[in-house]
Subunit: 352 residues, 4 copies
């Protein structure tokens, strides 16, 4: 028998009976729940600004999930990073199949240039770089800018669909007015009839914080979701669906003192704390968070959010791979019913 | 032979050879291009306010296309009307399969109540009453309100799909906050994740003039459509498509001095002049228009718009049956190429 | 007041209060339920063959609904006709926006040529002529062929979307093998990967009776629909949806002795009795039918079918405008619950 | 600097500048092109039948891609296996989120039971087990049955969406007639109107070889695809799209003597040679194949097929992950233009 197995293996064949445990009752991600505190991120960003010159590559600190053993991944499908661009710097033009989003953390007036349009940044803005769009970044201000990148790199790698190209000059030529996409598509349910293209990714490249904040504030008293609070999804203006085929972006406000109920679902997420202070219990472990922290949530982990302030709203931005799960018929969710929807806390996350 | 035809006809049978001329080379609508000037409409509205009490039916002046011989229709598929609600009046609750839009012409603070939500009116606002939604109107202010109704009544009649029901009380009970749909759905590409319904008609019931104007103003210098100018379509926030399955609504701005090019397409329209002064040439006939005029455009008529002011923008609101044509694969359009895209003017429309 | 009304009407304006009765509680079609018996149709066809030469127009007997007062319409949206092509005849090439289907009643080996492909006919076959496709018919056999035409002419007229063109020669040139579409698309859920076009109308032009019969026979014992029996819809092979954007085609088998339950729905239909004998009760009126009869059903009429033979299956082919109602959100249906789903019969249809 | 890197890594952070080479110019899959010859597979199957009892797990020989280092995967997203069921055996009922297809290689009359319906097997049949459907297999004949399994296990693992459940009895109860789905859905573009469900995976569970062969034979002379020959995709009868959200199945016939042109695309495949003899050149390496061989193709590998017989057609069945790439906007293809579309052969695959 073991001889048979040896010959099988030599021929590139394994018995299903040898693999039984690999079909797990429910997802058992290797990625773990984890948090990168803002103090750590800020220190690293500052040091990187001093130690690392901007060269062929961006000065972007990639958040590696400790469960994924050196893999370029924050969750099984997405990578989050903190990127710093100093005054006067330019991050060279290139393009790639991974799709990128930027959520601006600090600094105003720098730009990302996407296929010939400059999109100008302010804190809280969400800026898109769709798959295979030429892009470069520049900071012509006198202050550093810092943002969170979100990309679907691990997914693109798993699907063997990575393409990458450097542009032969530092910057891609400008062919459109600044913030042109916001002028065209940044309206409340009003669509320019002369635009005929219907791209897979949102043609709106800038979702400004001013508007996002106005929308959240207007829904302050909404009877919203028991698990996600006042959660808004950024959408593709021409389809109303996820802004990117492979990633969703959400902004969610948790009211002062609110303790939301626990649920779990397939699909992973990375959260960035835009403002406020609170905690998220993930599979029984408490993650206490404040402004600027980054938290990652693996697939199928029970999670519940709470705002620990009784005065101020807490706001979380997140990237999620949910559109992938939904497109393939694999999205599934489940609410915690026992304990009135709240988990027992069995441990507390601490930065090591 | 004629005996054969007589017997055929008696049996409810006609020869195709008797009907040849009915397959026309291109659409030959019985509906004609026509204009109802604002002075006429205002006079009639004022008089109706004095002469006609509000009863079971609304005080709505229906614009009958002179080509359609007493048919309840402004175009082959749509009816436009001017409705007046005096201070203190209520138009009783009912519902019907025809879908209605209201474009507010005058008066602020009256409301339409739709399925338990009051939507408050201001000039330039667009308000929806989707098919089969309970609705009543009320004016608790001390001034009259006037709006343009647009409904797909002739289409619903042609499709034998008319249903109508009176509510057993004057007003349908309120179950939602005022302007609730705008609070939920009136955002720039941000969607409330806890709303799971995806209705056929837009769940956003109010498209406010404040936002519409801001969008138009922001596109003042856009390189827009050669035939339609800076034309924006009001859209369904969850799908990005036409806000109603049977009618589209457009707002279009024509820059000072602009003379757009002529084209024609299947599908009909009714225009309302929101502001400015200009002219539209329809199949060679000049319609000179100003604020408050209503103009109807039949299917396949060549048409071109011009702003005759060199200082002020002109703005047209319109209802169109284009979603019907598109859903059924019947939309077709053609630009006028000769005469540099401009028609010879052979007549001028005059009010009789 | 009447003076006011007169002036209003002169200005092309009517008060809604004058039109109240036009919003009916439910559809009240002017089209009525009607039947053209096969004996009548056969006699007329025979006589037409003698009396009417084939010229510019086809020799097609149009079934005019008695309720529609001389309108070219069998229902509010569709026209059915019986067409005869004698040996050696050709019906000239033309095209039009109305979409046509042919259901072959008699004769084998004649053809319809559609955009360069000859589709050969046998009894029971369904053949499509999509909107705006060039087509001519030819009978190079030594026997007459007779088929039922179904077109969406009244719908196209109501939508002002009629286009028509004669080809400058008698026949459109052949550019494809005979029955090419059936070779490409006539498979059980197998699709040619090298065909990239996705037309609105089915690219499969021939639905052969041999296959239709095989499918019906295989479902003889299926636990099918209480109102429609073993009803199959012909579908577009690339989308699985209705084969045409404006018309559906159904084939339905009613088992020996079966008496189906009554229901009603928006949308109209024309039935052709392919085989068997039975009766349909429409709004209380009994229509007894046999092979070759044509029956028309108006929108929202209660209807129930029965097979009055205890030995032989009855088979009905029908055209329906249901895709139009569904595309526009206007389809609605209702089962009769009282009387165990059966109507009281209050009259019987008799040929006058 | 290296101190900075060490502290960064300790905190779960890596610099993008350390990862530059991971964004490759084009996909560089770790999976390699490989072949498992039928003689090897038959010997292993025979030996497994003797050595391995059927227990909790199926007797399925999993084909592990040599480039993927012990990963349960034939390509980056799919696993193929050869499964043997001996007379009298039953493979216990269970369900899982991975979707499975079976392509029958040998034996007639065994069954797969899917959600209460027995689907009976014959050589060349394709049988589906959609995601999360209960299924068991049984062989009540007196001969062994052998089939190829195809599952999306590596994809489901990469997406952290694995769910698995054993049924508490050996067999799931039968609630439907044998081959019920083929009776309902196995028609040429005819759809049962009484079936309202529209599942994500095809409701047609059996694609019989008799029909597949008839379709291929009928297209023998078609002017088909220059790279794929007479390639048919098995489709979902209600949507016309891929039969499963995560896998496509193709059957392709290569005419005697035909040498198809080379191309490459994102997405991987596993081929099974149904009949005939030929060769496939993959990135310059020649794989000579015959009946029963299994070949795997990685993403973006140049490949061209040839039939080396001048008399007999060659037929390849394949599973592909193309629907995943298309759903996520990542499908891309490229034809080889130089060398008249043919690669230079630089090596030949040999079984070690």
């Amino acid at each position: 028998m073991s001889d048979f197995h040896e010959r099988m293996h030599a021929a590139g064949i394994y018995g299903l009976w040898e693999l039984a445990s690999k079909m797990t009752k429910h997802p058992e991600p290797r990625a773990i729940a984890h948090m990168w505190p803002s103090a750590l991120l800020e220190a690293m960003v500052r040091e990187a600004g001093e130690a690392v010159p901007i060269g062929e590559e961006r000065r972007a600190l990639q958040l590696f999930n400790p469960g994924l053993e050196g893999q370029w991944a924050t969750t099984n499908t997405m990578i989050a990073a903190i990127q710093l661009l100093l005054p006067g710097e330019v991050a060279r033009a290139h393009r790639h199949t991974p799709t990128a989003i930027r959520f601006i953390m600090e600094g105003e007036g720098a730009y990302t240039s996407v296929d010939g349009e400059r999109v100008y940044m302010a804190p809280g803005d969400l800026i898109l770089t769709p798959s295979w769009a030429w892009h470069d970044h520049g900071n012509a201000t006198d202050k550093p800018v810092v943002w969170m990148d979100g990309l679907d790199v691990p997914l693109i790698q798993a699907l063997n669909a990575m393409f990458f190209q450097m542009y032969d000059q530092e910057k891609f030529p400008l062919t459109k007015p600044d913030n042109a996409s916001a002028a065209l598509h940044g309206h409340v349910s009003l669509s320019p009839t002369w635009v005929k293209e219907r791209p897979r990714s949102s043609p709106l490249l800038l979702y400004s914080w001013a508007q996002t904040w106005r929308s959240l504030a207007g829904l302050r008293d909404a009877d919203a979701d028991p698990h996600d609070g006042i959660a808004l999804e950024y959408t593709h203006p021409q389809t109303g669906r996820a802004l990117l085929p492979t990633m969703a972006c959400w902004i969610q406000m948790i009211r002062p003192g609110a303790r939301l109920r626990a649920h779990r679902h397939t699909g992973s997420a990375v959260y960035y704390v835009v403002q406020g202070a609170g905690e998220t219990i993930i599979d029984g472990c408490r993650f206490a968070w404040g402004r600027g922290d980054v938290i990652t949530l693996p697939s199928w982990a029970l999670h519940e959010h709470a705002n620990t302030s009784t005065h101020d709203a807490a706001i979380l931005f997140s990237i999620q791979d949910r559109p992938v799960l939904e497109a393939l018929g694999l999205f599934r969710e489940e609410a915690l019913t026992e304990g009135e929807g709240h988990q027992a806390v069995t441990s507390t996350f601490k930065v090591t």
